[in-house]
Structures are given as C-alpha cells and as structure tokens.
Symmetry: C2
Subunit: 388 residues, 2 copies
Amino acid sequence: MPIVVRLNGAEGGVGLVEPRTAHFDQPFALQCQETLRRFDLVYETYGELNENRDNAVLICHALSGDHHAAGFHSPDDAKPGWWDTCIGPGKPIDTTKFHVVALNNLGGCNGSTGPRTTDPKTGEAYGERFPTVTVKDWVKSQAMLADALGIERFAAVVGGSLGGMQALQWAIDYPDRVRHAIAIAAAAKLSAQNIAFNEIARQAIQSDPDFREGRYGQADAIPRKGLMLARMVGHVTYLSDDSMGDRFGRELKSGDIGSAQDVQFQVESYLHYQGTSFSERFDANTYLLMTRALDYFDPALEFDGDLVRAFAETQAKFLVLSFTSDWRFSPARSNEIVDALIEARKDVVSATIDAPHGHDSFLLHNERYFEVLGGYLDAVAQGADSPS
Amino acid sequence: MPIVVRLNGAEGGVGLVEPRTAHFDQPFALQCQETLRRFDLVYETYGELNENRDNAVLICHALSGDHHAAGFHSPDDAKPGWWDTCIGPGKPIDTTKFHVVALNNLGGCNGSTGPRTTDPKTGEAYGERFPTVTVKDWVKSQAMLADALGIERFAAVVGGSLGGMQALQWAIDYPDRVRHAIAIAAAAKLSAQNIAFNEIARQAIQSDPDFREGRYGQADAIPRKGLMLARMVGHVTYLSDDSMGDRFGRELKSGDIGSAQDVQFQVESYLHYQGTSFSERFDANTYLLMTRALDYFDPALEFDGDLVRAFAETQAKFLVLSFTSDWRFSPARSNEIVDALIEARKDVVSATIDAPHGHDSFLLHNERYFEVLGGYLDAVAQGADSPS
C-alpha cells in the first residue's frame, strides 16, 4: 500500500507523505571494523511499486539531506522535501511511473540510527562514539532496505553530490541490482581542496566549546556557532561567485562605514540566517560523520587506485551530469568518471548543464537539466535498454 | 643613510635589515569620522634613495603582511621578509636601482599604531575600539610617511591583492605623487563571494569564546582557534585546487578508516600547522580590521559607482597583473580594472600570468611573472615614459 496521499491542488506535487521506519534487528558490520548490534532506517516512498516490482528508484541524499525528498508532512509545512523540484507527477523523477524510495542514511540525524540513537550496549546515546560510516556501508544498508521492501533490482539509483557517489558505489557493489546509476554533480573522489573545506567545517564545529568533544548531548548543549560556521562554508562554496553577486552584489546594510565586528553587507546577514537555522536542525556529530564519508569515498582504492577496474564488473547504464558553474564538483570531475566508464566499455550518457548556481544547481529547476534527466528516466520507464 | 647591511653570501638578498618607526604627533582624521590623536608607522627600506629622490618604490602589504618585506632581521632568522622573492639586488624590484619602502599599515599588529597600541585617551590598549580603517586612510598615512622620508613622488607604488588596491587608490588620491601604479592579483572591489569568505573568517574569530568581544587583551587571552580557522579559510581559498592536489593529493595519515574527529589526511595536518602558527603571531582585532578594509574598498563609490570616472584624474601609468589559477581575485577582476583604465584613456600594461598556485602566485617565483614585472620596472628605472 502506497503511503502517498494526494493533496487537492498540490500543483503536481506528491502531496502529504509519511515517513516509515524499517528495523533491522541483526548485527551490521561496518567498514571501520565496528559492528552495530541493530539499526533503523527511516524512509519515504512516492508513487506505486508496479506488479513486476521493477519500477523502483532509490534517491540517495547528500551531506545534509534526509528521507524527506518530496511532498509535505503536514498541510502547514512551509517547505516541501529537499528535492521536490525534481520528484513528483510529471517531474523528471516521475512518480506516476516510478516507485521512489528515499531514506535517511545511517549516521544521520533525522530518524535513522545515528549519533542521537541510544546505543544498546551502553543505554546512552551514541553521540561522538557513533562509528565512522562510509559510502560503501550506506549502500550495503540500502540494499538491506531494498530487501525489506521486496525490491530485487532498482530501475535507477539517483543522487546529487554525495548522493551521486552512492549511485556509483551501488553499480560497483551490486552490479545485478541496479539498472541505471545516475550521478549528478559528483566526483570519483574528493580533491585536497574538497577535503580542506570539509576540514574547516569540522574544525569550526570541534572548536566550539559547546561541542564538548562530541558530548554536547549529555550536557544539553548544542555547538550552534560551530554548526553555523560549517554551514556558512558550505553555502559559500556550493554557490558560484556570479550567483552570489547577482543575489547580493555589494549591498551594504547601511551607507556608512561601520565597526569591524558588526554585520555590514547583505550577504553577511543572509549567511548568518542560513547558518543559524541550520544549527537549530542539524546534529553536529552527524555533520562530522557525513563529511568524513565524503572524504573517504574512493571506490578505486579497492582496485589499486584504478577507477576503470572499479567499474569493470558493473552492469548498470550510467547517466553523469554536471554544471558549468559548480567549482566544488566541477564538470572536470564528472568527466573523470565518464572517461573511466568509457575506458571500461560501459554504456554512459553525460551532459554538462549550463547553470549559474554552482554546486547547488543540482537541487534547482533548470530547463535543460530537467529535460536531460527527465528524458533519460522516461526511457528507463519504458524499459528501453539504452535511453539517450 | 641606508639601513641595509649586506650579509656575506646572502645570495642576492638585501641582507640584514632593521625596522624604523616614524612618529606622527598630529591628529589623523579617518574616513569613519573618528580621529587618531597621534600614530606611528613602522617601516623598512632597502636600496639607496638617489640624489634626485625620484627612485623610491612603495610596497603595500596585503591582509596579513607587514613592513618586513625583504631580508633578515637577524642571521638566525629561518625566513626572510614576505616578498623577498621579488625584492633585492637583481630581483624584479631591484634594490640596486630603487629605494624600496615597505611599511606596516595603520591598524596592523607589527609595530604600527593598531589595536595593540595604547590609546592616549584611555591609557589602555585600543583593542576592539580601534576605529575602522580604509584603504583610503592607509594611502593618506603612507603619503605622510613619504613626506617624512622626503619622497615627493614615488617612481612606483606596488602591491599584490589588498596591496594592489592601495596602489590603485594612490593613483586616484595623489595623482602627482605616483609615476607608476602596479596592481597585482587585485580587484576594483570585492565580490559577494569575497566578502562572504571574509565574513566566515571574522565569524570564526568572533565565535571563539577567547575573543571576548575583542577584549581578549585585558583577559590575557588569545582567540587561537578562531584565528586558526580564519587562516585555514584564507589558505584554502588563496591556493588553487590543482596546487593543493599536487602538494597533498589524498594522502592519508594512516591507511585505516579512523574516527570522524581525528585528522586523517595530510592536507588537514598542513592546515592545522599553518593555522596554529598564524594564531601565535597575528592579532585578532587587526585581522577583523584588515578584512573590513578589503570589503569596503570600492574607489568608484565616490564617483557614483563609475570606475572610469574614478580613474579620470590619475596621472600614473599602470601595470595590472593577474594569475590564471587565482579564483579569489581572478583575471576577470583585473580585466575590469584594465577596461576602465582604457576607457579613461590611461596608459596601462596588463598581463595574465599562467601560474598554478592560485592567489598566492603573486608571492611566488614564476619566470614570466618576474620577467614582466622586472622588465616593466627596468624601464621605470631608466625613466622611460612608457615602459612596455
């Protein structure tokens, strides 16, 4: 039974949706050698699973995303799920054709087992003791969720940024369980600059005295300033210089020259607002875990650093998309993936979309982007072997 | 009498140098409407002032620079001044031809009047009460230093980054006192992204509880973590993605997957080291002041936002240089300066140097960069009107 309830006049969205929780009462061995005694994954689905059970699409989230990818939890919600632009009836990921599954990853802070969960071994929240999770761990847990939902093979695994890395790992680790891997604004591994930006964000959090070496939960504290700074770094680097310029220019809050400590420019107010609201909703230990999963992602490592060999056994077809103004995961990084796939003689469609909004472009409406993604998935829905 | 003492075997450097201090016992009105009752500027000179007193070159420093631009303060010094690559006998800024003057700007923390100085009104250090200083204020104070040194007109005013902005402001504010303005890796004003990165650095400092709203001096505290983070942001954004990749790649400190909180990659250790050493030597209130001077720089503002009009009365000839991999002050930003100068019918030579080290390229040795800069200054030394 689908959990989607259509709102009247919901303008083509998936309407009201309800998260569910899958319980896994079995040990889960992580790449870091630690084992979780049991775990939960919270997820949402949109659109109906067909009789052949072959129209499921898995949505993998990025750094700060979760299972709430589309629709509303209540009619009063100010905002829909994080990828509502892309998921819904008539949208690129069309819920009239696909059964869409979105989950909160292991280590997350929105319902799946993570730092806020009680550790069965200690009876206290895991907090900073939650083990390091990797993209490979996530994909393994997602495969267990697919089993629980009776999905043997996904029509597509789709994600942007860190989500796209999960799509690639799926194709490598479960060759026969994914027909199409769609990696948007991703990379085969982070650059030193990427890692450095993540480290600045982590340091900001860890330097906040309210972080208390990760034990802020026990002290009823929240490292708000650290989370705010981390989000500011993310925000600035996920946007392009031009898009920030178009939006804020050099607008001063007042015409005069003020003190060095006070906010003077509109762009500063905006960043403060974004950072503060993030610090109210996101868990600091989860932020550290998610950025580490990004840093560690390097599927070629198991194949002596050879990405071509990493893709050798994949059976999926690939769609690889990037955006011209994205300087954190630039088109050049996507092309490294495409080149390796071609050398591995895999079926790959790729496009670089002319979009002004930097890395965040993958979340935003853009005609050509939606045409390419929607067109590809249309062909997937029709069961065509090589949609392009 | 020159203060330069040549070291034997100093390999073409200016040798041992000694800072001097110029005292200005007169009120200095700042753009922010506040007045300093008196002020000091600490400076160094390299090379001899000729009889005509027309071979002086002023070096303007960037965010974290100071008066110690070349040579050594003691034979035990591990490192020479910050622009020693460029300044010295036979170097692009050739001290056998020029009398080079380098100073620490007002608001600095290396000897010139700044937050660490005692406020004559209160008998206590200025600290966070030090008034906001602008590029225009700096240039005015530098002109007073030139008066004190008997330099009526500079052969050239030279600077990189924020230093280049001072060179432009010199040409605008003192048209008859600068023959050549040399702006390297600069911009006519900051973009929203530039301001945003500065604001992240400021927030990092201000969020550190040891900052104590700028009154850390009274409490014998230093906001070390905030300064460290600010420096890390600067470091990552002043380098290019490629140069970081070449230097660090994705080298792990150990092969295993470690905890989320610990340092795992070489690039992280490097940033921690750089950030920590910076936090030991730099003043937090000065850092806030310097970044604000950057944010506020916009010489066109006095001319209804028209940069062409801002340059209209300049008499200097201009050299404008930029570096291909510099994404914080990209060649496009230098071209805005060049375009305005051309439209204002000014004499301008410009070059974009193919260099891999991002914004930091202006500090580093690069054959073509040194050829262009040295060649231009050779012609300046020969008194040629239009060196190019």
